[in-house]
């Protein structure tokens, strides 16, 4: 580039690049949602926002993993799996969850005040803010990838991190369960996160499974893009 600013991290990944229209993001609207109000989309969601969620600070039980996913399909009212909207014979997360929004800094970060110090980076168009060190509440990516059909992966955070500051990006997740009927077996699409907070070494499992009649189904094509982030603020 002829001029501008690029900041790379120790791995060579770009953290800020003033030649791209790719503003940094920030976490906002951190909200505790009770068992009775685990609805999706969460309040104050704007177009383009990614939705973050994690189990409540004191999840139920001491060892029961907490399943985290959206449920239902796009044309129906949606909520999180485990909410009071679940049929009583399905999983109930009575402790609730914590949600947040990951928003672009462009258009959502206020202009610097007179005499303010810090660092604001604008794109080459001179008006689109890309990164504000002064007001930023960025999150750190811990894990990101895509699970193909019938697969799962575990992420174990280092002990230096606080487990209750780890959020999952839930937009791509879904748990959709259909009980068996007279002419069909039970079905469950399970593209979700499972927070194993009570394990001796806590970890988070990302799964892309379909179950029918107690067996895993293998012949489907859907991918589950997953991402875990850490609230450093």
């Amino acid at each position: 580039m002829s001029y501008g600013l690029i900041i790379s991290n120790a791995d060579g990944r770009e953290q800020v690049n003033s030649t791209e229209i790719a503003p940094n993001t920030f976490i906002s609207n951190v909200t505790t949602s009770s068992y009775n109000s685990m609805t999706f989309p969460v309040s104050n969601t704007s177009s383009g926002d990614l939705t973050l969620a994690r189990p409540a600070n004191s999840p139920i039980g001491t060892s029961t993993p907490i399943a985290l996913a959206r449920t239902s399909v796009s044309t129906n009212p949606t909520h999180f799996w485990g909410s009071s909207s679940n049929a009583s014979y399905f999983y109930q997360n009575t402790a609730g969850i914590v949600t947040a929004l990951l928003k672009t800094q462009s258009g959502n970060i206020s202009a610097p005040a007179s005499g303010e110090y810090g660092l604001d980076v604008y794109s080459t168009n001179g008006s689109t803010i890309l990164f504000s060190a002064t007001r930023s509440t960025s999150v750190r990516v811990l894990a990101q990838g895509v699970l193909s059909a019938n697969s799962e992966i575990d992420y174990t955070p280092p002990s230096s991190l606080t487990f209750t500051k780890i959020y999952a990006v839930v937009d791509s997740s879904v748990i959709y369960a259909i009980p068996s009927g007279a002419f069909w077996p039970d079905w469950a699409s399970l593209m979700f996160y499972s927070f194993h907070h009570g394990a001796s070494t806590p970890f988070i499992r990302m799964s892309n499974r379909i179950q029918s009649g107690g067996q895993y189904v293998t012949n489907y094509s859907a991918q589950f893009p997953y991402m875990l982030v850490y609230d450093t603020n």
């Binding site: 991290n9 060190a133 259909i178 859907a222 893009p225 450093t232």
Partner: protein, 98 residues
């Protein structure tokens, strides 16, 4: 000596480190599947590597009670995001860089 960007908030908490992998927003939108089974979305600069991330906003189903399996997937291509989605189903997508 390490080098890079560190940001501290007014409480002295380090909120950005030179080791952090940050999320940068690129684009979002909605596509509707057609008879070809895929939709191409132009994303300038996109490449098939892990600095590019994609999230899907929904996993629409073909609503049949005996086979409700989700079928949406995507491929990162040069300057293009290909979303594989069945005919007439609608899916949201998000593109970001990390």
């Amino acid at each position: 000596m390490a080098y890079g960007l560190e940001v501290f908030n007014s409480s002295g908490t380090k909120i950005v480190s030179y080791t952090d992998r940050l999320v940068r927003f690129v684009s979002f939108g909605t596509v509707t599947g057609n008879s070809s089974g895929y939709v191409n979305v132009t994303v300038t600069g996109m490449a098939n590597n892990d600095t590019w991330g994609v999230a899907l906003g929904d996993q629409p189903f073909l609503l049949s009670f005996n086979d409700p399996r989700p079928q949406v997937s995507f491929v990162k291509q040069t300057n293009n995001l290909r979303i594989n989605v069945p005919n007439n189903l609608v899916v949201k997508y998000y593109v970001f860089r990390t």
